[in-house]
Every structure is written in structure tokens, then in C-alpha cells.
Subunit: 602 residues, 2 copies
């Protein structure tokens, strides 16, 4: 993208040494990580009632106990994760914990489950946000896919602009929604207690199914959708300012407290107000209407709910790129996921997430509710693996109060494991089987990527490399006709004994990079110059260097030699950065610069 | 396109020295060039009656005189063009004649008119062919655009396979249609004369418009659509085997004879059989039904008519690429139009024509009948300019019987000129105004292209070039890390005093190309080798040469230096062949070959 448009959309590049400034404190962290978890209040308790309704009034009576169970589960999971974020302040969540304590396979399973979950979250949340808009403005219905994609593009751009800017942008709607939903619950419970709230008339329900343990369990596992998004904090600890672990733990506690309170409150209010799910009005809307009437307050609650449903996507934009980068560092994802963009975010992960979720929205024509059952299986797989990993961690490493901590994580692992079995059993035919096929396929893909990188590394290794020897080179000038261009090329090809120099562009910010020491071992005559590159724009720095040499060094030509290795298949070539291509692109309009790729077949 | 698929679709490449074998005789020429002209029988007389019908039975009575006038016009135009093709056997038609005798501006106007006409012909004929298919099979109606594009793709592929193959493929339907339409006319007239033919009942027509001179003239100019396509032979004389002029003249006579006979015959039969245009049945179909009943013969006539309507597109595929190449040779079209493809056809012109016509079909959703009025203006502009040019030619050059010949072309110019004024006047508001805007715009474009090429040539000219001087070159090795790839590049950059050689790949087939003599003037040390390239595949020949040097010459590396010039804007860069890009692409998987573009800013 050309520079002025890029700057307009993304802002000015931020130097690498300002990484710490680009992190967020606890308040910003809440704005970044709460939306996904909080948005589930809007649909979690409702999912429970939809299942229970099949067993009539007797079934609906189980709404409150299930609400209590869900709130308890939130408390257990959050307590367990608080320990995780404090013990693993470098982030990575379930993937990192499983990798260190359980081995590679469980880690890859957790990674696959979480990546899938992030993509689904984005697709479902922007599509349901667009659905909320088009039910208010039916004229836009035919443009719902474009609308969803446009919402996603805006969220993507905000995330590409950096962590701090997106936290600032999302703070108002997130805190607004939390205030609204707490107000509904607290005002509702207070008015219930004071007897000033009129319940709806007893609904006459048709009983279509007997009340059974399976039905109650299925209702419970539907309600577990409320817990999705709670793990995002653990994957994104790196986004927090120091002390990272404590900041992240605080945010985790806040989310859990609000989530538990509201899930429980909404369940109680729904039961006491005789609210049952309606096809054309949500449970939360009915409760808000009972409490506030059709006042301004009611419309504010509805507006905030629509907004938080769209913003749930934002949490994934914080989680997915960090997890992908974490896995890329270990060689399980393409290494482009590690590239830090202009604004110190993992820009390729952000764009990949938007592309995958956008493809889902387009492929399903914006009707993504069918994807919802797929969620919970992945999330609870990650929960269970993460807590089990923590249990192993405490048992293996000990430390102060290791026994108590192991007990907390063990309880977490047990609870989430049981819930996972319940979800898988009750939801298998409702779509959970897709996830059971997808996750192993993804694990196979991760391992193939890892094998490829290991193969490349072995072929590039210098352990058995020959010494540098003189070789024969034929210089061939292609002549189409004799004109000025030919003479230019002839001048170039006749230069003898040109000045030769090697340069290394230091993107990482190290003052004395390892490459300098290694160069000295292999080459004595040709000097290696290290050029700093604080804005991580390798091609741009190179162009500036070459221009300076041509202007000040008096060189008519610069011949730039770029080593490039050739891989065997198209999918392997997707796993590399193609630096030579981008350099050639950046230099496309420069005359006097010849780019030479010296290719090395692995 | 990769080679096996390319060979399957296009066949094996044909060497340049077999050009003469790839030309057609008079019978093949008729198959190539007749469809466009012949297909107009299917709609030309009908267009006349549609206009006349507005004035009721009194109006329809003018059908026969107009038919006589059209047949006379066909005779005049064909006689006139017979002289053109014999005098200009290198082809180019109206453009070439106007360029030589009238100057650049009239030539460009004629070229613009003809190119527009070719594109319109393809779009209209494939779309009306698709319409004929979908009226028989209404289930395909929603796929009419894809159907039209698919028909065009088949015709395009046949033309890319070469002149001889497409002439062979189209011979059966073309001769079939000629036989059918002659049978209808001759059997019809004979049965009329013998009184065995029953006319239809007198139609009761509503008179919506008074019979006026303007109405009759408008009917006549609608009928002039019958003459479109007659000029294609003159533009494609190069496609004929020697003696070209005589072969082309013979084909021209055949087309004119059949066209004149059938236009006149259909007009007479329509009048005598009381046939009037119906919205759901064509005039030709009604006449055939009167004569043959709903017998097998009737359905053969209908099938052949549908086929010839689609094949009318093929004539344009013979004319457009040749005219574009002719104009490219003079610098008025992109020089890619001159590239001879694998099968000795101007492949870029063929692809460009298909792309433009395809875009029209898609843009108009396959409803291209609105474009029909645009035709005749362009065609008669070209006719008039061509005949006027011939008149000037005879007056200026003299020669045997120059006076008589000047009279023939003068009469042609006068008739077509008068018809052009009539068409422009009567059809201006019906769409002819679009052509009156388009042609000047195209002329401006042609001149911009010509100015660009003249600018490039002046900048590449050696008239004021400096002598070849030693220059300073900085060789820069980009080091990302120290690995085997880096060592390979280091070996490469350390080669000193490499062997240097220049090569010229001779695509034109000359044994002693001019470039050899010029090279000797500019360079004494570096030898220039000329490599023949009979299949005109420059990149392929180069790859073979380099591979042979690496295998047999013992070179570890080949550095290929390609001079390339940089133009200022994107549209200018469309006017060049981008040889460097295609060479790089052909060598993308070869290791040990470094391609160096030495760019020269104009």
C-alpha cells in the first residue's frame, strides 16, 4: 500500500523501542478483553431457557439452578486462570501452558481449538451485529453481508492502528454496556425485593419433550456459551503494561465478577418475571422492558447490547494474532505471523483473522447462527488442557502454597473436563462433530509446517557447509537491438572489480547482532555493515541506504545481491517472507539499481 | 499458460518459415470471411420491413425497390473493393488505402470505425446466437451471458489455433447456410413463377405513421446493415495464399453475388407472399415455412441460420487482429498486437477482441440489440474513405485503364458517401451519436500512442549517445543471517573477471540481422552471438541456451543482464512487451541464474 494512504489509515509508524508505551493498563485491558465474555450475557441465559422451554413450566424452573451452576463455573474458571496469568506473564494461555507441561500434541490441540474459536467469534459477532442493524432498518437486509464485512474492516483497521488506540476506541461502548447490564440486574433485583415490579402473565407453554436429565444437561451446555471469551485475557497477557501478571489477573477478576453477577441476575429475573424466549424479542430486552418500560433507558440498553455484540469480535483481534505469533515462534504457524507491523502489532495475524472470518460470513451469506454450537467444544477443550497443564505445573515445580494452587487448578480442570464431556455428548449431532474433525486436521497442518521449517533449517545449516570457493560465472547480455538502453547495459556489464560490501539490516533492534560475529568466521575480505531499522521497514531502509550511496558515494550503479531459497511446492512458499520480491517491488522505479536473486535450492 | 495445457488447446507451435503454408485458398477464404456478410441476410431485409410497416401496406410496397437498391449497392461496393484488394494485396483495407492516399487522419478515422465495428459484430452475434439457443431451451435463459461468453471462447480458441484450422472448422456451416438460403430463394422464386406457391392472407396493418421520403430513407439505411461484413476480405488479404489479390477478389465476388441475390430474393418473396415481420417469428422463417412447410428442410434452414449468426463473430476474429497489427506497425496501436503467436496468428489481437466483446456482453447482460444501430455508421465511414482513397490513388498514379477504374471507385465513394449521410441523418438519435463521439476519442488515443512510441524511439536513438565509458558499480550483498544461502551468494559475488558474452535471439528469422552489423560499430571486445528462434518463443529459447551453457560450458552461474527502460505512467507501460518480466518468470525455478535488469529512464 502506498505510503500516504497507509499513514492515513494506520497512523505514523512507531519505533520498536517504544514497545512498552504501546501496552495497556488494567482499564484499557478491560476494554480490549471484556467484550467477548460480556457479550455472552446477551445470549447465554436465553440459550438455556430455549432448551428448557421444551419441557414447559416445569422445565423453566431449572433456569435458576443452571444460572447458579454457570456462575459457579465462571468463578472456578476465572480463579484458575488468575493463577495462569500470574505464572505465565509472557502469555500464550492454554497453548503455552499445555506446551510446557503436557507436551506438543495437547498444546497443538489447544492452539487449534482457540484459533478456530477466534475465527468463529468474529464471524458470528459481526454477522449478528449486522442482523441487529437490518432488523431495525429492513431496507438494508440485502446488504447485510457487505455491512458485516464493513464492520469487520473497521475493527480490523482499529486493531492495525495499535493496541492503545483500539482500547481507547472501545472503552466507551464496553464500559457503557457493563453499566447498562449491571443497572438492569441490580435495579431489577431491588425492585423485585421491594415488590414494585409486576411480572408478566403466566405463559401458556406447549410441552414438546419430557423433562429429563439429558434435557437439563443440554440446557446447561447451551448456557456454557456464556463462558466463551473468558480465556482471551490469558492469551493476551503481553498486551498489558508491567506488572503484567497482576494487571491481567485484575482484569480477569473484573470480567468474572460482572459476568457471574449478570448471568445469575438475568436467570433469576427471567424466572421471577415469567419471561420466556420469544422469536421476535430477546430475553434481555423483555427484562429491560419490564423494569424500565419503553423509556429512553430501555433503548440505551438495547443499543449498547447491539454494539457489544459487534465488539465481541475485537477480543478475537487481540487474541488470535498473539496466539498465532506464539505458535509461529515455535514453528507451527507461518513465520509471517511474527512480523511486527508499523504500529507494533502482529499485522499479518490481524489480516488473516479478518480474511478467514470474512470468508465465513460471505460463504454463509451472513447466516452464521448455525456456527454457534461449534464454539463451546473448542473453548472447553482449551480450558481443560490449560487447567490440567497448570495442575501438572504445580505438582512438578512446587513453590509456596503449591498444594493449594494445584487444588484450585485441579478443581478447574475437573469441572471444565466434565462440562466438555457433557457438551460433546449433548451437542455432537448439533454440529460439535465438525470441530472434532477440524481440530485433528489443523494439528496435522501445524506439524507439516513445523517439519517444513525444520527441513529448511537443516538445509541452511552451516554444520556441513563447504568453504567458500571460487566459481565460474558467465555474464550474458541480452541484446534486442542496439539502442541507448543497450549501451547502458553494456557500460554496466563492463565494470570490472567493483567495490563489494555486505549489509545486514537489523530489524530486531539489537546493537551487536549475532550475524556480525558469525560473518567474521566466514569472510575476511568483504566487510559487513549493520544498518539499524527502528521502524521495521526493511525495504524502505534498504532503499534509503542505496540512494545515499548513489548520491554521496558516487556510484553509478548498485548491484544488490539477495540470497533466496527455492522451495518445492506452492504451500511451502506461503510459509516464507519473500523478502527478495518485496525488495524488488520497492526498487521497481529506481534506475541504476540491479537486483540479483541468487537462488539456492534446498 | 503452462506448456501441456497450451499445446492441448492451441496445438504444437508452427515455425516462422511455414507462414505460407498457414494461408488459405479461395474456398477456405470464403469460409473465413463470408459469415459476417452472409448472416446479414437473416436480419437485413427484415429491418427494412419493420420500418416500412409503420406506413401500412402502402409502405410495404417499397420493400422490393429498396431490395433492388441494396443489391445494386452491394454490387457497386464489391466491384469497388475488388479493385482495392488487387491493388493492395498486403491488406489493411480502408485503413491502408486511406493512409496512403488521403493522409493520417482519414486513415485513423477508418481504423477506429472498423475496430469498433469488429467488436460490436462479435458482441451482437454471440449474444443473438445465445438468444436463439435460449428461445429454444428457455431453461438456459438465466445462463445466456455465460453461454454467449462460452461460444466466443470456442471461436477465440479456434482462431488461436490458426487460420487454416478455423477455416476448416467453419467450412461446413458456412457452405451449408449459403446452400440453404440460395435454395429458399431459388425454389421460392421458381414456385412463385410456376404459380404453385400460396401467399399468406393479406395482413391487416395499423398505419401509425405517414408514408414519407424520410421513412423510406430510414428503411433503406436500416437495410444497409446487410452490407456490414463485406469489407472484411479487404482487411484480411494477407490470410490468402498467392496469388493473394486474385483469390481475395474471387471471394469478394462470390460473397457479393450470393448476398445480392438473396437480399433481392428475400425482398421479392416477402412482398409476394404477404410476409410481414412478427415479434415471435422472423421473416426468413416465415418464407421458409411457406415454401417447405414445417418439414425437415425448414428446420435445417433455421438451424443453419442460428449457426451463421454465431459464426458472424468469426469474420471479426480474422479482421480485427490483422487491422490492429497493421496499425501497430505504424505505431498507432500497442506493439504487442504485432506478436505472432505459436500458430502464426496475431494472438494478442484475438484475445483483446474477445476481451472487449466479452466485456460488452457482460455489461449489457447479453441484451445487445441496442448496439445494432451503431454498426452501419462505422462501416459506411470506412467504405467511403476506402473508395475515396482508391479514387485518389488512380488519379495520382495512373496506369492502364486508370480512368475506368477511377470511375468505378468514384461511383462507389459517391454511393457509400450518400448512404453514410442518409444513415447518420436518419439514425442519429437512434444511437449513431455514440459512434460520432467514440471515433474521435479513439483517434485521439491512437495519436497519443504514436507520440509515445516516437518519444521512446528518440530517447533510445544513438544519434547523440555518449561513448561507452567505465562506470563505478557498488556490489552489495544483503545478509539476513549466516546460512548456506548466504554462502552461495558470497561465492557468486566473489567471482572475478567472469566470461562476458552478448546474445541476440532472432525471432524474425533473418540469417544476418542488422543488429550484428551495428554491434560491431559499438563494441569490439565482447562477442555477440545470434541465436535463431523459429518458434518465436524468446524466453524458451533463452532458457535452453542457458541450460546448455551450464551443462556443457561448465558455468556454475549465469548472470543474465537485460536492458529495460522505465516509462512514466501505467498506460505507457501497457504499450511495451515487458520482455524482462517474462524472462524472469520463465527462469523463476532455475537456480544458478541471476537476472539483472539494467533500467534506463527515458
Amino acid at each position: 500500500m502506498s505510503s500516504p494512504i497507509r499513514r492515513l489509515l494506520l497512523g505514523n509508524p512507531i519505533p520498536t523501542d517504544r514497545t512498552e508505551d504501546e501496552r495497556v493498563g488494567p482499564l484499557g485491558g478491560l476494554a480490549l478483553f471484556a467484550p467477548d465474555a460480556m457479550s455472552s450475557v446477551a445470549y447465554g441465559p436465553e440459550e438455556v431457557l430455549i432448551v428448557l422451554m421444551a419441557a414447559g413450566t416445569a422445565g423453566l424452573a431449572y433456569g435458576v439452578p443452571i444460572g447458579v451452576a454457570l456462575a459457579a463455573l465462571v468463578a472456578v474458571v476465572a480463579t484458575s486462570y488468575r493463577q495462569t496469568v500470574q505464572e505465565y506473564p509472557s502469555g500464550g494461555g492454554a497453548y503455552a501452558v499445555a506446551r510446557e507441561n503436557l507436551g506438543v500434541l495437547p498444546a497443538l490441540i489447544a492452539g487449534a481449538a482457540l484459533l478456530t474459536d477466534y475465527v468463529l467469534t468474529v464471524a458470528v459477532s459481526v454477522a449478528s451485529g449486522a442482523a441487529a442493524v437490518t432488523s431495525a432498518l429492513p431496507g438494508l437486509f440485502q446488504h447485510r453481508v457487505e455491512l458485516a464485512v464493513a464492520c469487520m474492516a473497521v475493527i480490523m483497521l482499529l486493531n492495525l492502528r495499535g493496541v492503545r488506540e483500539s482500547a481507547a476506541a472501545f472503552a466507551v461502548p464496553v464500559y457503557g454496556f457493563i453499566t447498562c447490564v449491571l443497572a438492569v440486574v441490580l435495579v431489577g433485583l431491588w425492585r423485585l425485593a421491594s415488590g414494585s415490579l409486576e411480572p408478566l402473565p403466566d405463559p401458556s407453554l406447549e410441552t414438546t419433550s419430557a423433562l429429563s436429565l439429558f434435557l437439563v444437561l443440554r440446557a446447561f451446555s447451551s448456557g456454557c456459551a456464556s463462558l466463551t471469551g473468558i480465556e482471551a485475557v490469558a492469551n493476551g497477557v503481553q498486551a498489558f503494561r508491567e506488572p503484567r501478571g497482576r494487571n491481567a489477573a485484575w482484569v480477569m477478576t473484573c470480567i468474572a465478577a460482572v459476568l457471574g453477577t449478570t448471568v445469575l441476575g438475568v436467570s433469576v429475573l427471567a424466572h421471577r418475571l415469567n419471561v420466556v424466549p420469544q422469536p421476535d424479542e430477546t430475553v434481555l430486552s423483555q427484562i429491560a422492558e419490564c423494569i424500565f418500560g419503553r423509556s429512553v433507558l430501555y433503548y440505551i440498553v438495547q443499543g449498547m447490547t447491539a454494539l457489544i455484540l459487534i465488539l465481541a469480535a475485537n477480543t478475537s483481534f487481540s487474541g488470535f494474532p498473539r496466539l498465532a505469533a506464539f505458535m509461529a515462534k515455535d514453528g507451527y504457524m507461518p513465520r509471517q505471523m511474527l512480523n511486527l507491523g508499523d504500529r507494533l502489532v502482529f499485522q499479518n495475524g490481524i489480516v488473516l483473522l479478518a480474511a478467514l472470518a470474512g470468508a465465513l460470513v460471505v460463504a454463509f451469506h451472513g447466516e452464521v447462527t448455525r456456527l454457534i454450537p461449534l464454539y463451546a467444544v473448542g473453548v472447553f477443550t482449551a480450558f481443560t488442557l490449560s487447567q490440567t497443564g497448570m495442575l501438572v505445573h504445580w505438582l512438578r515445580n512446587g513453590g509456596p502454597a503449591a498444594g493449594a494452587r494445584a487444588a484450585v487448578n485441579g478443581l478447574g480442570a475437573l469441572c471444565t473436563g466434565v462440562v466438555l464431556v457433557v457438551i460433546a455428548a449433548t451437542k455432537f449431532t448439533h454440529g460439535a462433530w465438525v470441530v472434532c474433525l477440524l481440530i485433528p486436521a489443523m494439528v496435522v497442518g501445524f506439524r507439516a509446517i513445523w517439519r517444513h521449517y525444520r527441513f529448511v533449517a537443516s538445509r541452511l545449516s552451516l554444520d556441513m557447509a563447504p568453504t567458500v570457493q571460487p566459481v565460474r560465472n558467465l555474464r550474458l547480455l541480452l541484446v534486442g537491438g542496439i539502442h541507448r538502453g543497450t549501451l547502458e547495459a553494456l557500460q554496466f556489464i563492463r565494470t570490472e572489480g567493483p567495490d563489494t560490501r555486505a549489509i545486514h539490516i537489523e530489524v530486531g533492534g539489537e546493537a551487536e547482532p549475532r550475524v556480525l560475529r558469525e560473518w567474521a568466521r566466514w569472510e575476511k575480505e568483504i566487510p559487513l555493515e549493520v544498518v539499524p531499522c527502528p521502524d521495521r521497514n526493511l525495504a524502505g531502509t534498504l532503499v534509503e541506504y542505496i540512494e545515499a550511496e548513489q548520491r554521496q558515494g558516487g556510484y553509478d550503479y548498485v548491484t544488490l545481491v539477495v540470497p533466496e531459497f527455492v522451495v518445492g511446492t506452492w504451500w511451502e512458499s506461503l510459509l516464507h517472507n519473500h523478502t527478495a520480491f518485496w525488495i524488488r517491488f520497492a526498487l521497481r522505479a529506481h534506475t541504476g539499481v540491479a537486483v540479483v536473486s541468487v537462488r539456492y535450492r534446498l
